[in-house]
C-alpha cells in the first residue's frame, strides 16, 4: 500500500515536495511537544487547496491516516503524525490573499505566520489580535486548529472570536466553505465547531479573519511582588476593581532570570519573586484613571514597586521577553513540559501555592509564566527526557497539578489543545455522556477516522479508553 500511496503523492506534489528520507521523517517526528514522537510515512508540502484535497483523497483511497501541520510549535502534540501516516505540512501555503481594511477583514492561507499578518496590516492601523507567545513562528492554520490564545486574550478573546469564515478540505476530499465575512449567518455555527477541533474535522486551507484597530494609547506596567501567590491575589483585586486590562501576566523569578540571560533580555527586574505585567489600552483619556486603579489594587497586596514602560520601544522589549520565556527555559534543562490548566481566578493564589508544593515534593525545577488574568496557568517543568526517573516524576507531578486544578472547578487546557498529551486526562473533566456528542460531531465530519486520529478524544465509544488504569497498563507517559 505504502509504495502505491507514495507514488500517488509524488504525482500530486512532485518529488521535491514529498519528503520520505530517513532524516526528513525523523525531523518531523514531533512538534513543540518532543515527548512521544511518531515518524510519518511521508511529509507532503502542498501549495493549494486542490493539492490538499488530492492528497486527502489519495490517503483515503488507500486507508492511510493524515495529519495537518503548521509550524510545529504546538505543545500538545496535535501535529504529531500517526505511525505510517502522512503529514500534510502547510508551510508553503503562506500567502495573504486579501486585505480589506474597510471591513477589517483579511483572507489568508493557513501557513501565514501570525505575526506577519499583523505586520502586513500595521500600516493600515490594524492588527490581528490573538497573539500566542509563539506568534513570530506559528501559523494561522495552527491557531485555528488549536483555538490559540495569548496574553491579550483577556480583553480581545481567543482565535474563535476572530475567525469569520473557513475553507476546509473535508476528510472525504471535498472542499467546503463555512461562515462568511460578515460573521453572521443563519443555521449552525460550523466555524465555531471547527476552530479548536485540532485538525480532527478536516484541513483548513483558507481563513477569513477579523482585524482589529490598533488602540490609540497603550501603557504597560511592571508590578513587583515578593512571590507568585501575592501577585495572584493582586490579579483578583484588579479584576474586582472593574478595570479590564488588555493583558495580566505573571512571570516568576526563575523565568525572568532565564529570559534576562537570553537575547530577549529586556531589563525585567530580577530582584522580585514575581512580576505582574499589566497592559492597559484604549483611549488616552481613560488610561490615567486605570493606572491609578491598578496602583491601588497592587499596593493593597503589598507590591514592592511599580514601573511603567517609558516608551513604545521598551514596551515592545517587555513583550518580546515575555514571549521568549518558554524557549528561554531551554537554558535550565534540555526538555520542558508546560501544563496549561485553567482555574477560576479566585482559586489562583491557592493553586499556585499547590503547584509549587507539588513540584518541590517531586524534586522538579518549576518556572511559572502565565496568563493570570484568564486564570490560565503555565507551570513549566524543566527536565531531561534521558533520565527515566525524572521523566516519571514529571508525569506524576503533572497529573497532580491537573487534578488539583480540576478539583476547584478548573479545566485541563486553556489554549494549547488536548492533542495526544492531555487526551488521557479528558476523563478528569468529562464523562461518557460528555464525550459521546463530541465523538458524534467528529464522526459526522470524519467518519472513517483517518483525519488526525488519536487526538483529543479517546478512540472507543466507551470512556474506559480514556482511563489508562481501566485499560490495564500503568506505565504511560502522560499519567
Amino acid at each position: 500500500m505504502s509504495a502505491a500511496l507514495l507514488a500517488r503523492l509524488r504525482e500530486i506534489v512532485g518529488d521535491d515536495r514529498c519528503l520520505t528520507r530517513e532524516g526528513e521523517l525523523f525531523a518531523y517526528e514531533c512538534d513543540g511537544l518532543t515527548l512521544s514522537p511518531k515518524r510519518p510515512l511521508a511529509v507532503v508540502l502542498p501549495v493549494s487547496a486542490e493539492e490538499v484535497a488530492a492528497i486527502v483523497r489519495a490517503c483515503r483511497a488507500l486507508g492511510a491516516s493524515f495529519v495537518p501541520r503548521g509550524a510545529g510549535t504546538g505543545l500538545s502534540g496535535g501535529a504529531h503524525a500517526t505511525e505510517g501516516g502522512i503529514l500534510i505540512e502547510c508551510s508553503r501555503m503562506n500567502r495573504i490573499l486579501e486585505i480589506d481594511a474597510e471591513n477589517r477583514v483579511a483572507v489568508v492561507q493557513p501557513g501565514v505566520v501570525n505575526a506577519e499578518l499583523s505586520a502586513a496590516v500595521a500600516s493600515l492601523g490594524l492588527f490581528y489580535a490573538p497573539d500566542p507567545s509563539s506568534q513570530q513562528a506559528c501559523t494561522i492554520g495552527g491557531n485555528v486548529a488549536e483555538n490559540s490564545g495569548g496574553p491579550h486574550t483577556l480583553k480581545y478573546g481567543t482565535t474563535t472570536n476572530h475567525v469569520l469564515a473557513l475553507e476546509m478540505v473535508l476528510p472525504d476530499g471535498s472542499v467546503q466553505r463555512f461562515g462568511n465575512r460578515i460573521g453572521e449567518g443563519p443555521g449552525f455555527d460550523f466555524v465555531g465547531a471547527i476552530v479548536g477541533s485540532e485538525g480532527t474535522l478536516g484541513i483548513v486551507t483558507e481563513a477569513t479573519v477579523r482585524l482589529t484597530a490598533i488602540p490609540q494609547a497603550v501603557e504597560t506596567l511592571l508590578v513587583l511582588f515578593e512571590d507568585v501567590v501575592a501577585a495572584c491575589r493582586a490579579v483578583g483585586r484588579i479584576i474586582r476593581s472593574g478595570v479590564v486590562p488588555a493583558a495580566l501576566e505573571i512571570v516568576d523569578r526563575r523565568t525572568i532570570e532565564a529570559v534576562e540571560a537570553s537575547v530577549y533580555a529586556a531589563g525585567l527586574p530580577t530582584t522580585a519573586g514575581a512580576v505582574l505585567i499589566v497592559e492597559l489600552d484604549g483611549l488616552p483619556v481613560n488610561l490615567t484613571g486605570e493606572i491609578e486603579a491598578i496602583r491601588a489594587a497592587c499596593e493593597a497586596e503589598h507590591c514592592q514597586a511599580i514601573e511603567i514602560a517609558r516608551d513604545e520601544a521598551e514596551r515592545k522589549r517587555f513583550w518580546r521577553a515575555r514571549k521568549g520565556a518558554f524557549g528561554a527555559m531551554g537554558r535550565l534543562a534540555p526538555d520542558l513540559y508546560v501544563h496549561d490548566a485553567v482555574v477560576p481566578r479566585i482559586h489562583l493564589p491557592a493553586i499556585l501555592a499547590k503547584v509549587c508544593e507539588i513540584c518541590d515534593r517531586h524534586r522538579l525545577k518549576l518556572a511559572n509564566v502565565f496568563h493570570a488574568g484568564d486564570g490560565n496557568l503555565h507551570p513549566n517543568i524543566c527536565f531531561d527526557r534521558r533520565d527515566p526517573d525524572e521523566l516519571a516524576r514529571v508525569m506524576a507531578a503533572g497529573k497532580e497539578i491537573l487534578e488539583a486544578c480540576v478539583a476547584v472547578g478548573g479545566v485541563i487546557t486553556g489554549e494549547h489543545g488536548v492533542g495526544v498529551e492531555k487526551r488521557d486526562y479528558m476523563h478528569l473533566v468529562f464523562g461518557a455522556a460528555d464525550l459521546d456528542p463530541m465523538m458524534r460531531l467528529r464522526d459526522a465530519f470524519n467518519p472513517d477516522g483517518l483525519c488526525n486520529p488519536g487526538k483529543i478524544i479517546p478512540t472507543t465509544r466507551f470512556c474506559v479508553e480514556s482511563n489508562p488504569k481501566a485499560r490495564g497498563y500503568d506505565a504511560v507517559p502522560f499519567e
Partner: protein, 459 residues
C-alpha cells in the same frame, strides 16, 4: 484503536564510545556538538528567521530541524548521514536564528563543527569540492597566488574574455562568472603603508586587519578605513605578516586549515597586544571580524587575546567618538555633506554574529544631508554567505530576491553594507535588475565626507 504512546526509548548512545560504535559520524558529533544541541527545546521561534526555511518550508532546512538531525546522529538514532551533510551546507550560516533563539543555542559554532565532522566522516567527494578545497587551502590564504589569479582575471575582464566566457560556458558556470565584480585597477590592489601617523592630536594606535579577499577586490575599503582612522586621530599600523582569518575555511568545514591560519595571526598580533603597542585590531569585513572574535571556538584559549582585541571598524569609530561628542570631547571628524539617499543593509556577521546594528547607522546619519532610508528587509541574509553564492547559486538567488524587492521599493542611490561577499552579491543582484544604485561600504562614505578633516575638527 490508538494506544497511548510509550516514552521514547532511551537513545542507544549515551556515552562517547556508544556513539562511536553507532557510526564514525556519531562519534564525531557526540561530545561538544551533542551537548550544545540539548540547549534547543524545540520551541520553533527560529523558524521564520531562517532564509532556507522561508524558501522551502521544510523542517529539515530550518535551524530547529538541523539541530534535531545533529542530535539524532550523535545519539545514533539515524543511519544515513547524507541529509545532514546536505543540510549543513545548504544552511547559509547567517546565524539569524541566534538572534531569535531564546535558549541561546550556539548555532554558528555547532554548524561549523558539524560541517567539519561531516567532511571528516565522508572525505573526498565531487570534483567541485576538490577545486573548492584547493582554492581555499592553496590560493586564498596566499597573498602572492591570490594576487596572481586576480591579476589574470582582471586581464581577462579587460580583454573582454569574461563576457565571452559567460556566453560560451554552461549556464551554471556562466551564472557564477556573472557574480564576479569588475576587478579594481592594480593601483588599488597594492599593499598598504605599514604605518600611517594620526593627523592632529593623537588618540592612540590601532592595527588594520586586511583580510584575503578585501585587498584584492575592495582595497579601496581598507584604504578608506586607513584614512578615516588617521583623520580621527589614530596611528594605523598594517602588520605585513598578517594572513587570512580562516572564516571561509571554517565555513567550508575545514577547521584544521582555519585553525592553522588562526594560529599564524595569533603569532602576528599577540605580541603587539601584549606590549600595549596597539589599542585594537580593526576589521572592515564583517565576516572576518566575526571569525576573529570567536577564535576560541577553533583554537581554545590560545585565541583569547587576539579575539578580545578585534573590533569591527565601524563599531570602534562610533564608540570612540568619531562623529559624536564623547565625555566632553568634540567629535573627531568634521563631515562634509553627501546629499544622497542611502539604504544600510546589515551583514549577518555584524548583526547576528556580533550584535552590531546601531553603530553603522549612527555613522551614516552623522553625515550631513545623507538621507538614511529604512527598507523592509535589512536583517535577512543576502545569500552571499562566504562562497555560498558559488556553491549554491540557485538558493542564493532565492534568498536574495526579497532583499532586492525591498531595495527597489526603497529606491536608494547607494546601498551601504559592510562585508565584501554581501557587497558583491547585492551589487550583482541590483545590476541584474537594471538598478542604478551603487553599493558602498559605510567607511567609504565616511572617508568621502571627512576629506579635509583632522582629529577634533568636527564640531
Amino acid at each position: 484503536m490508538t494506544r497511548i504512546d510509550d516514552p521514547i526509548p532511551a537513545p542507544p548512545a549515551t556515552t562517547a564510545s556508544d556513539a562511536l560504535a553507532c557510526s564514525p559520524l556519531a562519534g564525531r558529533l557526540f561530545g561538544e556538538i551533542h551537548a550544545a544541541t540539548l540547549d534547543c527545546v524545540h520551541c520553533g521561534l527560529c523558524l521564520q528567521s531562517c532564509p532556507t526555511y522561508r524558501a522551502t518550508g521544510r523542517e529539515t532546512s530550518s535551524p530547529r530541524g538541523r539541530i534535531y538531525l545533529m542530535r539524532g546522529h550523535a545519539e545514533g538514532r539515524l543511519d544515513d548521514p547524507a541529509l545532514l551533510a546536505e543540510e549543513a551546507f545548504l544552511c547559509l550560516g547567517c546565524r539569524a536564528c541566534e538572534t531569535a533563539c531564546p535558549s541561546g543555542v550556539r548555532y554558528g559554532e555547532i554548524l561549523e563543527k558539524t560541517r567539519a565532522a561531516v567532511r571528516e566522516a565522508q572525505p573526498g567527494g565531487p570534483l567541485v569540492r576538490a577545486i573548492e578545497r584547493f582554492m581555499l587551502r592553496e590560493v586564498v590564504p596566499r597573498r602572492g597566488r591570490l594576487g596572481l589569479l586576480v591579476g589574470l582575471l582582471a586581464l581577462a575582464q579587460r580583454l573582454g574574455l569574461m563576457a565571452l566566457a559567460q556566453r560560451i560556458l554552461p549556464a551554471p558556470l556562466a551564472e557564477r562568472a556573472r557574480l564576479l565584480p569588475r576587478i579594481p585597477a592594480a593601483a588599488e590592489r597594492r599593499r598598504m603603508p605599514a604605518f600611517t601617523p594620526a593627523i592632529g592630536p593623537r588618540r592612540g594606535r590601532v592595527a588594520l586587519f586586511e583580510g584575503c579577499v578585501m585587498p584584492e577586490f575592495f582595497g579601496r575599503v581598507n584604504e578608506a578605513a586607513r584614512l578615516v582612522l588617521a583623520r580621527a586621530g589614530w596611528d594605523v599600523v598594517v602588520p605585513e605578516r598578517q594572513g587570512c582569518c580562516g572564516a571561509l575555511h571554517a565555513h567550508a568545514g575545514d577547521l584544521e586549515r582555519a585553525s592553522e591560519l588562526a594560529r599564524h595571526n595569533v603569532t602576528v598580533f599577540d605580541p603587539m597586544l601584549a606590549e600595549g603597542g596597539i589599542d585594537a585590531i580593526l576589521v572592515t569585513s564583517a565576516g572576518c571580524s566575526a571569525a576573529l572574535r570567536e577564535l576560541e571556538h577553533w583554537i581554545g584559549s590560545d585565541g583569547r587575546a587576539l579575539a578580545g582585541g578585534v573590533r569591527d571598524v565601524l563599531d570602534f569609530l562610533a564608540e570612540v567618538g568619531a562623529v559624536d561628542s564623547v565625555s566632553g570631547r568634540a567629535p573627531a571628524l568634521a563631515l562634509a555633506p553627501i546629499p544622497r539617499r542611502v539604504c544600510y543593509d546589515d551583514p549577518c556577521h555584524l548583526i547576528h554574529a556580533q550584535g552590531i546594528a546601531a553603530a553603522p547607522r549612527r555613522l551614516l546619519t552623522a553625515i550631513p544631508q545623507l538621507e538614511l532610508v529604512a527598507h523592509r528587509n535589512p536583517e535577512a541574509c543576502c545569500g552571499a554567505a562566504g562562497i555560498y553564492n558559488l556553491t549554491h547559486p540557485e538558493m542564493a538567488a532565492r534568498v536574495l530576491a526579497p532583499k532586492l524587492d525591498a531595495l527597489e521599493e526603497a529606491t536608494p542611490e547607494i546601498v551601504a553594507t559592510a562585508n565584501p561577499g554581501c557587497a558583491m552579491q547585492i551589487a550583482a543582484g541590483l545590476a541584474g535588475r537594471g538598478s542604478a544604485a551603487r553599493v558602498a561600504h559605510p567607511i567609504e562614505l565616511l572617508e568621502e565626507a571627512s576629506r579635509g578633516s583632522t582629529n577634533g575638527s568636527g564640531r
